[in-house]
Subunit: 191 residues, 2 copies
DNA sequence: CGCGTAATTGAAAAGTATCAACACTGGTGG
DNA sequence: CCACCAGTGTTGATACTTTTCAATTACGCG
């Protein structure tokens, strides 16, 4: 549920240690909005530490969380390829430390470094593979099943993420999430 | 709604005309299942002509359509990067003609041809940009609004695609789609 | 303590799915 | 030419799920 990309982060670390390229670094406090949707930024970030959420806000102010980004996940890269404004907002959950690439450095690396190129391409492909089944799942199964799946995937869930974020991730209201959780509790007590 | 990628298809046509690489070609009759989810294939296809649907089938047999693929759209490429089985099925709607790459040729092109590399990368990025807002939309607005949006985007909709596919694309039952359509008709008559 | 934020819960309203029946169409064979 | 069939589309009634709204409680922190 909180996605990571170990191969990417470790490769970037070695690049950074060599010092050939001027890879930047940033630290964001908890609950900082790093990207706001429909804006332009010239940066690509890769998370070293911490968790961020990537989400879309609709006209009614409701958030729909696309994914939770952990170590090695990048964001801001889509805008390098398409030269458009962001489609998602990104905000840190806890303290987030990240590598920071300018668009030009990012492009340069893509051209000059074939390992980097492959890692990024695999990263993009994985994002697609991740997104595809997610929504079909949530549609096909009742909320309870979705919650169960999350709890298996990520037991510490409720300790790290606020309920609202979990609900927004599943795509339901907090009310519905709470009902599902309560019913699950009752079923477990019954056993 | 039916996605296309003109720059990719025209570049592949020039590659094909040069004849340096052995790019294959295939033709599929209407309603042919080209890929079945959770299987392995060694091919990447790029559509020259026709429309295909890319969808996930859940355990209850319900289809959830990810996207409709038109000219220049590729499928089967995700499995080149991650070496896993397919997550989606792909089936032709009408007659589909497509370029066909073996995985090894595809990889070779990615390495040797930087234009090809960039086009593919942009294609992946566009798929992500496309998928992200889609489900948040469908969740945030009632069916009627979703139908209206589709009709604006693609007026010939109902002439080409069966109702079931449209419903599966929006993520509702045919019954609900029909109700929405009927209510829209009544509202228009009222004006 | 008091404040703001997050979590919990109930009741009513809205939206959607399910199920079942029926209409329409194009093609096939008697 | 008609009867039949399969596939697709249409519609109504009902049951179920989820949202909405509103009220209350719990918690962390200056």
């Amino acid at each position: 549920m909180i996605r990571t990309n170990q191969s990417l982060i470790s490769y970037i670390r070695t690049l950074d240690n060599k010092g050939t390229y001027g890879i930047g670094a940033s630290i964001f406090e908890p609950k900082t909005t790093i990207f706001r949707q429909n804006h332009r930024y010239g940066k690509v970030y890769v998370i070293k530490r911490g968790i961020a959420k990537c989400y879309i806000t609709d006209e009614n102010g409701r958030e729909f969380i696309q994914e939770f980004l952990g170590e090695g996940m990048e964001f801001g890269e889509l805008e390098v390829f398409s030269d458009k404004s962001t489609i998602c907002s990104v905000a840190s959950i806890n303290e987030v430390e990240a590598f920071c690439f300018t668009h030009s450095l990012y492009k340069q690396l893509l051209e000059e470094d074939s390992t980097f190129n492959k890692l990024i391409m695999k990263g993009l492909a994985d994002k697609i593979r991740y997104k595809a089944p997610r929504h079909s799942y949530q549609h096909s199964y009742p909320i309870e099943d979705n919650v169960l799946r999350l709890q298996k995937l990520f037991p510490q869930l409720t300790e790290i993420l606020p309920k609202k974020d979990i609900a927004n991730y599943i795509g339901v209201t907090t009310r519905s999430l709470n009902r599902a959780l309560k019913e699950l509790r009752q079923k477990n007590d019954g056993n």
